[in-house]
């Protein structure tokens, strides 16, 4: 079923479901197509750049962030607003939220940032949140971009609460983690509140490209606060949600409606949903409603519904499963991502022999799937684990974000 504004198409991993006494798995590949850009009026951007300037950012890291921030001025239009916050264990509004009238002024404001002190992310987020809310949020596409290289102390709950409040008001938060000494589980949770993205930046020289990419991606927003309603029939449990396009991000269902970010004109949203279902023998078909809500600023619409009802025949026997190609490849990539997560769990629990065995298996599966560069990396880490009994933080992040990106590659065969 499609509707006028957002066209929803769904592929299912099953053509039929057996009347089977027990829990079984069902995967759905959901594609949400917005209209063409030419039909959508430009929604000005309201950006807040929140830059960690703690002591550890000194040198190349802050240098590249400044360079990158200076380059994004090229992407800021006359109707857009931008604010810049520098934070360590306190925050300073380097540039209050305002339209860009002079590129030179913004660049000199950014260049004035100096590194010192510890890392308290909440300080920075709060100042950026205050700046972004100075504008009428309904008239803008609102985005906070956090760049940090460290662990925050004692304020993670406050950060998550702020991200939750911001998401409800239509403000997305993306996060860039630079280097190895930051907490990816925390940043993933932070961005998940609004359905946005966390990005690993291994080397400072990569900041410029990734930040430019992000700003370029904040194109013409068609639908904001796109969310999946957690409203499924009894016997159906949503186990995981993985955003595949326009970028890879995993979300953990918690029984509440799930925010999945904004949808830009011309840029489809693709999701992989994993369900556990129990099917009743007495029914002829298995029905699963998949319902979304979003806000459409160009139409002044709030809570616009996009619904789809999936119907799969119930069969008396186990039919062979032959999933559509793209769906199967996406599930394969999801499985690789999970295999990697399990390896790190083993390492954390000190079970090095099992972790080593799993790394070898993981390497084989990566090679089978044609991901030779990542497989080579895994081979290297297997040797390191075998000889040293431990792996570095950078290996952990490289493999986590490397396998996460695989899932997007399966869908974007042609980008």
């Amino acid at each position: 079923m499609t509707d006028d504004l957002l066209a929803i198409t769904i592929q299912s991993s099953r053509e039929s479901i057996a009347a089977f006494d027990g829990e079984q798995l069902l995967y759905l590949l959901v594609n949400v197509d917005p209209p063409k850009k030419t039909t959508v009026p430009y929604l000005p951007r309201n950006l807040s750049l929140i830059v960690d300037c703690s002591t550890s950012m000194k040198g190349d890291r802050l240098g590249n962030v400044k360079h990158a921030a200076g380059m994004i001025v090229e992407r800021i239009g006359p109707e857009d607003k931008i604010s810049v916050v520098a934070f360590s264990d306190r925050a300073e509004v380097v540039r209050p939220s305002s339209p860009l009238t002079s590129k030179a002024t913004l660049i000199s404001q950014i260049n004035g940032i100096r590194a010192s002190g510890g890392t308290e992310i909440y300080q920075g987020l709060e100042a950026g949140y205050d700046e972004i809310r100075k504008s009428p949020l309904d008239s803008f596409s609102n985005h906070m971009i956090l760049l940090t290289d460290g662990h925050t102390y004692g304020d993670t709950k406050d950060c998550l609460q702020l991200a939750r409040d911001a998401a409800i008001q239509g403000i997305d938060i993306s996060a860039f983690g630079i280097g190895d000494d930051w907490n990816e589980a925390f940043l993933d949770k932070l961005v998940a509140m609004s359905g946005s993205q966390s990005i690993y930046i291994e080397k400072p020289s990569q900041v410029v490209g990734y930040l430019q990419d992000k700003i370029r991606g904040l194109g013409v927003v068609f639908a904001s606060s796109f969310r999946l309603l957690y409203d499924f029939p009894s016997g159906v449990e949503l186990l995981s949600v993985f955003k595949i396009a326009p970028y890879a991000q995993q979300f953990v269902p918690d029984g509440l409606d799930m925010r999945l970010g904004s949808i830009e004109a011309d840029s489809p949203l693709t999701l992989l949903l994993e369900f556990q279902v129990e099917v009743q023998n007495s029914e002829e078909s298995f029905r699963l409603p998949v319902r979304f809500l979003s806000d459409i600023p160009s139409r002044q619409m709030k809570d616009y519904p996009s619904d789809y009802e999936l119907e799969i025949p119930i069969s008396g026997e186990h039919d062979p499963i032959e999933p559509p190609y793209q769906l199967a490849e996406a599930v394969r990539a999801l499985n690789l991502y999970r295999m990697n997560e399990r390896i790190w769990q083993d390492i954390e629990e000190g079970d090095i022999p099992v972790a080593t065995r799993r790394l070898q298996q993981f390497n084989t599966r990566l090679l089978e799937a044609g991901h030779s560069a990542l497989a080579e990396q895994v081979e290297l880490e297997t040797e390191r684990l075998r000889s040293m009994g431990a792996l570095s933080e950078s290996a952990r992040k490289r493999l986590k974000y490397g396998t996460r990106t695989l899932i997007t590659q399966t869908i974007r065969l042609e980008s």
């Binding site: 850009k37 370029r216 599966r365 042609e414």
Partner: protein, 167 residues
């Protein structure tokens, strides 16, 4: 309730699972590989096609030679030159457009790579392309600049381009 076990590692799995969570092996249709064979062959670095004779490069210009089509494109040596395929619908207009060189079927992304002139020389940067960028048979890490020399051949997906510029 049906008991199912992975044929490779014997771990149990649920009906409807597509891959084994323990060993990663595929749990459905034995014909799958033949059904999808060749659909997703990832790009790999290829031996470099014989480069053409070094062309004349005017001052302040960069010359690109697309090796498969022998097309020559000369562009001003701006601070950043985007390489990819034009897409008017998405407002993407790379300076070096490889559409005419069969870029789409050779795996060139719309915004595939860029050439940047920096204080440290000319750099090639992969812009997070789907099928990768290769320089001297090495795959580039996305968004990480790599120095490129006059006369180098680089590969975008499956398409090779040679670049000439004045140092």
């Amino acid at each position: 309730m049906t008991e199912l076990n992975c044929q490779e590692c014997n771990e149990p799995y649920k009906v409807g699972a597509l891959y084994c969570g323990e060993c990663g092996s595929r749990l459905f249709s034995d014909n799958y590989e033949t059904l999808v064979g060749g659909l997703a062959a990832p790009a790999q670095p290829k031996p470099i096609t014989e480069p053409r004779e070094e062309p004349q490069v005017s001052a302040g210009m960069i010359v690109f030679l697309v090796l498969s089509s022998a097309r020559r494109v000369e562009l001003p040596a701006n601070s950043e030159i985007h390489i990819g395929r034009v897409d008017p619908n998405r407002d993407i207009h790379p300076h070096l457009d490889l559409t005419a060189d069969d870029g789409a079927s050779l795996g060139v992304s719309r915004l595939h790579a860029s050439l940047q002139s920096t204080e440290n020389g000319v750099m090639l940067v992969d812009l997070g392309s789907t099928n990768g960028t290769y320089l001297r048979e090495e795959s580039l890490t996305p968004h990480e600049p790599s120095p490129i020399r006059n006369g180098d051949v680089f590969q975008l997906g499956h398409l090779q381009v040679q670049v000439f510029f004045e140092m």
